[in-house]
Symmetry: C2
Subunit: 153 residues, 2 copies
């Protein structure tokens, strides 16, 4: 079988996919698809963001963002409204249906956060955080300067 | 704007998505879609794995695995053949077209790996690795015991 030694990006991918599996399983009854809960979660923090702000904040390209929001709108979790200040922009608002599952979603995401760091000392968690932050800054900087297509998020 | 303080799962998601953006951009000309390169990469390590082995190794559910492999087959990167030992299983083999982009893909993935850990000391990289490994084990264990649907990967 395959070599089980993993590189850092492979651990990152694995952790990401495990998270998607767990969260997807727990929220299955809501019909919210893979990778769509993060849009609701961002709106729970700040309702009424524009599509562009969501895309930028979550580092998800505009096409994927638009598709996810269209789906969430069809399911009745968000409403998109043309922005008063900028008619080309859409603001995205949570519906009552979305607010009704807020605490459940927070619980699921919280469970996952705690599960990941179970058994890590306070110091290890701090170190993990600092290193992940450095890697995040590296990633953002690298992308800014190394995209073939010249676009960045 | 949104609070920029991030939890560990949020950093994991961000790093994952940054990786998808960079790798997708670099490999755009190959037409290999988002999240599909990892199947080829696993097959570069060991050609001829079954769909089930790929699904298990990569922690990607069977449906997504089947869809990705179908797409890679349509693009001419893999061939699926019924396994001799188990007629219900499909073995997946790389084509010449896939082998022709192997070194390019390795280069792109290697660039990303190096970009992430740029500026981290040898010791920090070691610590990052150990902590990610612990979180990976936590994630696998948590999923095993906490899935509503009772399935695990």
């Amino acid at each position: 079988m395959l070599d089980q030694r993993n590189s850092i990006p492979r651990w990152v991918s694995l952790l990401y996919r495990y998270g998607q599996i767990y969260i997807g399983d727990q929220l299955k009854h809501t019909e919210i698809g893979k990778g769509q809960h993060i849009f609701l979660n961002a709106l729970y923090h700040e309702d009424g963001l524009t599509q562009e702000e969501l895309s930028h904040y979550l580092k998800i390209d505009k096409g994927t963002t638009a598709k996810a929001l269209k789906r969430l709108e069809a399911l009745g979790y968000v409403k998109r409204k043309v922005c008063n200040k900028d008619k080309r922009a859409n603001r995205v608002f949570l519906t009552d249906k979305a607010l009704a599952i807020k605490s459940e979603m927070k619980q699921v995401l919280g469970n996952w956060r705690e599960a990941l760091t179970a058994g890590l000392t306070e110091e290890e968690q701090q170190v993990a955080f600092v290193i992940l932050e450095k890697m995040g800054a590296n990633a953002a900087d690298f992308i800014k300067h190394n995209m073939k297509e010249g676009k960045s998020l």
